[in-house]
Assembly symmetry: C2
Homo-oligomer: 369 residues x 2
């Protein structure tokens, strides 16, 4: 499959500049630069106007730019100049009158330095221009994500089949990462969360030293990143000992909330309305106070992207969006359950990209429980 | 060994606030928050004034905060409030007149949101206040770093002893990371650079698919992170085939430059002067254009910290600083050599913390070359 059409993406962005009342944009957010050019280095800015498209970087990335962005004009700064200097010159040369800068990435220090250098144009703070384009994924991005999901699934199968009572959370984390790498991942999509018992009740726990045998509940929240930087994001709970009734009740409540949300997700529906469906099921079961985070989020080049499913969200689903659906119930000091899948918005509703067993009976690990 | 004295660090910072003409500071840079409190979560702000010290976070981190910051006042926001709201209220309650915010981390979006909420005090952009404190490490930080160096050394020994002609850069990277983990690292200090031949000529290369047998030059730039988030940063070149005279000449020039720099580093010496010593040796050998980056950098909670050794640096070495010394010569399309060690500034000069063979003869891998 051929790669993304970066020029088409940039043209879509150019058409949006008018809405933001600017005639040029300095893109400094690294995922935004990557989205518009394919450049994967740590230091690169993109300047865009109707007449000019130039990527700015330094000598460390000269060869990489030529490889990753063939055909794109590049300016390479030397040790005696800064990206600010180059950007200011380009902006003047392109005769831009109002240049946008990305308010969500530009720090006060960067702004003060840019403001000194850019004298030919008015500087305008913009927000979310490229993020909104990134909400809807193209065919190539979806293929990349499918591969990241597939690798995550295979990694989980390895972990599940090799669980031992005396295995620690950290050992499981490292095994999972190694397995995903062996299947072609360039690294985990984020630091995998592996939590036994009380640790599973912390939504953002670090894997630590608890052993599988310490509790029947083992929560794993993980994903794979592929070379193109697209990624997956899944959560499963495994039952590794004799479960209590409460565990089963909590598990089935979370699963019911997730399935109801998945059924409701389709183009045109409000993100907040789907969040509400899941939240009410959990509240009705008496666990309303134990679900403190949003129901899900967009993902792609970054693990958390626009859109967000939360009570405060004002967004509406569209075809081509990728979102996680991940309700949870957390009982502090005891255990937590979260079930998370990756969905693609389709014209008819959605497609669940991830295919890992999710029924309670299937969560029981027979050789341990 | 007992951990760091966070309160003493905060008191040192409080004494510095006058110099910045503020009577309160909102710390939002995550490494700065960690340095001053021990909190390791992804979302936490610290507000400090002579009368008030409070860490702000959200429900995800309630338990973690109690664990990591015992005795520190914490405010936990719920889904209906933002960190801005809490910060503004604390600032008003503490009767602060001029509150500093960290210009190197606060984005324009965050600033505009803070400016709306903070009405009781004047907002002042500050820069480098905590970074300057972090330049000089305490005994505990140095012990953490020694451990990170030791783990990196052991990982490298495993890689070196298991090299094979048909091994790829990526395979070496993953083996190195796994070995360091088995010795107690929580992860690599940064994505390890593993470059064979032409890839070694790219100062910031990603490990890819080149095999060891493709060139006699194999460059590895790696480090370990330990649980406390301190880290190491080393580079070695291994000779994995019959070397050319040019390879030997380049290697020995880099080594000579590094050793001369190490001899010159002591408290009171200017960073730029040491950079010059190494740079001149490389230039005298005819490779002046092939060394484009600075000679070294401070490291600690982050892999790149203040101080910097470069021609433009205005800093002076002090006892307790940790710096890398890493000259390099890069011949595009052919190969590159960089040799990097970690140094601690001592009253008499410095101590090289890393002890990996660095002579050319020692770089030759006997079972391959």
């Amino acid at each position: 499959m051929t790669g993304p059409n970066y020029e088409a993406r940039r043209n879509r962005l150019l058409r949006k500049l008018k809405d933001a009342s600017v005639d040029g944009l300095l893109v400094t957010g690294s995922s935004n630069v990557r989205y518009l050019t394919g450049f994967s280095g740590s230091s690169g800015w993109l300047f865009l106007s109707s007449s000019t498209t130039v990527i700015l970087s330094d000598t460390r990335y000269e060869t990489q730019l030529a490889d990753e962005c063939p055909g794109l004009d590049a300016e390479i700064r030397d040790a005696a100049s800064t990206l600010d200097d180059h950007a200011a010159r380009l902006i003047a040369k392109a005769k831009v009158k109002r240049v946008g800068i990305e308010a969500d990435y530009v720090t006060l220090s960067q702004h003060s330095s840019l403001a000194k250098k850019i004298v030919s144009a008015e500087i305008v703070a913009t927000s979310g221009l490229i993020e909104r384009l990134r909400e809807v994924k193209d065919k190539w991005e979806i293929e990349q994500t499918r591969e990241a999901v597939r690798i995550a699934e295979r990694g989980f199968a390895v972990v599940r089949s090799s669980l031992r009572p005396n295995q620690t959370e950290t050992e499981i984390r490292f095994l999972l990462e190694a397995a995903m790498r062996s299947f072609g991942s360039t690294g985990p999509a984020f630091e995998p969360i592996v939590g036994v018992g009380p640790t599973s009740a912390l939504p953002h726990a670090h894997a630590g030293g608890r052993c599988v045998s310490e509790s029947p509940v083992l929560l794993i929240d993980w994903g794979a990143e592929v070379k193109s930087h697209y990624r997956s994001d899944l959560t499963r709970v495994l039952i590794t000992g004799k479960p209590t009734r409460l565990m089963e009740q909590v598990y089935n409540t979370v699963l019911k909330a997730q399935q109801a949300a998945i059924e409701a997700i389709r183009p045109g529906v409000k993100c907040a309305d789907v969040d509400k469906i899941a939240r009410e099921i959990i509240a009705d079961a008496g666990f309303g106070k134990n679900f403190g985070h949003g129901l899900g989020h967009g993902f792609g080049l970054e693990i958390h992207e626009s859109v967000r499913m939360s009570p405060l969200s004002e967004q509406v689903f569209e075809v081509g969006m990728l979102v996680t659906v991940e309700p949870g119930i957390y009982l502090p000091g005891k255990f937590g359950v979260r079930i998370e899948d990756d969905l693609l918005l389709t014209p008819d509703g959605n497609e669940v990209l991830s295919n890992v067993p999710r029924e309670f009976e299937e969560a029981i690990v027979p050789f341990l429980a």
